[in-house]
Symmetry: C2
Subunit: 191 residues, 2 copies
């Protein structure tokens, strides 16, 4: 998606350790108009007539996923991240490794809000190692629901999370896949 790649090139910053900072429009300050255009781009790829539920994980994915759900007239469920071992009953859960916090995090979704009849489109702002998405995919399976696909705004292609999901047969659509990010700049995978 040209508009998104242009924003990344213009406003993104590469920090040491191949960290790509896009917090001016995606995950700290949010440009809702860009979120709308991203939602419309996903709508060209996925067959939304086959989707009943949008799902993401807290926190930063919520902004984009909410605009998508609103634009498509669908409900949104966001998985919560457990901060303790104090897990209630009635929850689907999946343990993931958070590279941001360097520790195990448990994603939780109440079994009230996802049904076996649901066709779920997972949306997130960012994918690197793909742990959060793997956890969400686990929860969709655990609920006996159907995974319609995964829509990502920015994927760090060189960390392999997206390609592992694609190899497993998941329909992953990322609108900007970064293959290289270092002192020489940012390079995108060809569409």
């Amino acid at each position: 998606m040209k508009q998104l790649k242009d924003r990344i090139l213009k406003e993104g910053k590469v920090l040491p350790g191949n960290i790509i900072k896009v917090d001016g429009f995606l995950n700290h300050r949010v440009d809702p108009r860009l979120m709308q255009d991203i939602a419309d781009e996903f709508a060209r790829h996925f067959d939304l007539r086959q989707v009943t539920l949008v799902m993401t994980a807290e926190a930063s994915g919520i902004a984009l996923a909410t605009i998508c759900a609103h634009r498509w007239g669908l409900p949104l469920v966001f998985a919560k991240k457990a901060k303790s071992d104090n897990i209630e009953g009635g929850l689907y859960q999946s343990d993931i490794f958070s590279y941001t916090y360097k520790k195990k995090v448990t994603l939780l979704v109440s079994n009230e809000w996802i049904q076996p009849s649901d066709k779920v489109l997972i949306i997130d702002d960012f994918m690197a190692n793909g742990e959060a998405i793997r956890g969400l995919v686990d929860i969709v399976k655990e609920a006996g629901a159907t995974l319609a696909g995964v829509g990502i705004a920015v994927e760090k292609g060189f960390q392999g999370g997206g390609d592992r999901l694609r190899a497993a047969g998941v329909d992953v659509r990322s609108l900007a896949i970064i293959e290289q990010a270092d002192e020489n700049g940012i390079l995108f995978r060809e569409d």
Copy 2:
């Protein structure tokens, strides 16, 4: 706001300890159409021509605040919650007490994304003790920006957070103020 109160009465659950669960439409599963109607209700109260920035705190406030920002053509900034003492420079911060996690949490906003010229409308889905809002108000002051007001979907009036802000001169508009929630049901403050 009648629609919101009706949803709370119909779908909300009161748990022991005066905990009100509205996770079927507000803060776990999200009904984006209701978020839109809440945004439009705020627009009738606040003079949005005087607002340049919508602000909230992660995580659950992001859904409503994103729809508000989108609807009003404004950018959104969400404060991050620090999970460590590893605080970078260039950040406005405020320590709050999280009653959910029973510990101190630090709200952080990069000084890149809020300017002294900003007129900030704070939006959140829920207010009880008002600690998160107090922290956001601190950050607006720290940045030298102007606070336009605070818009809340559901306020637990009996916990006093909203009234403390009102007493301090803040324009707080809550669309459903719960005065009592126990085994006898839910009672709202009169408008």
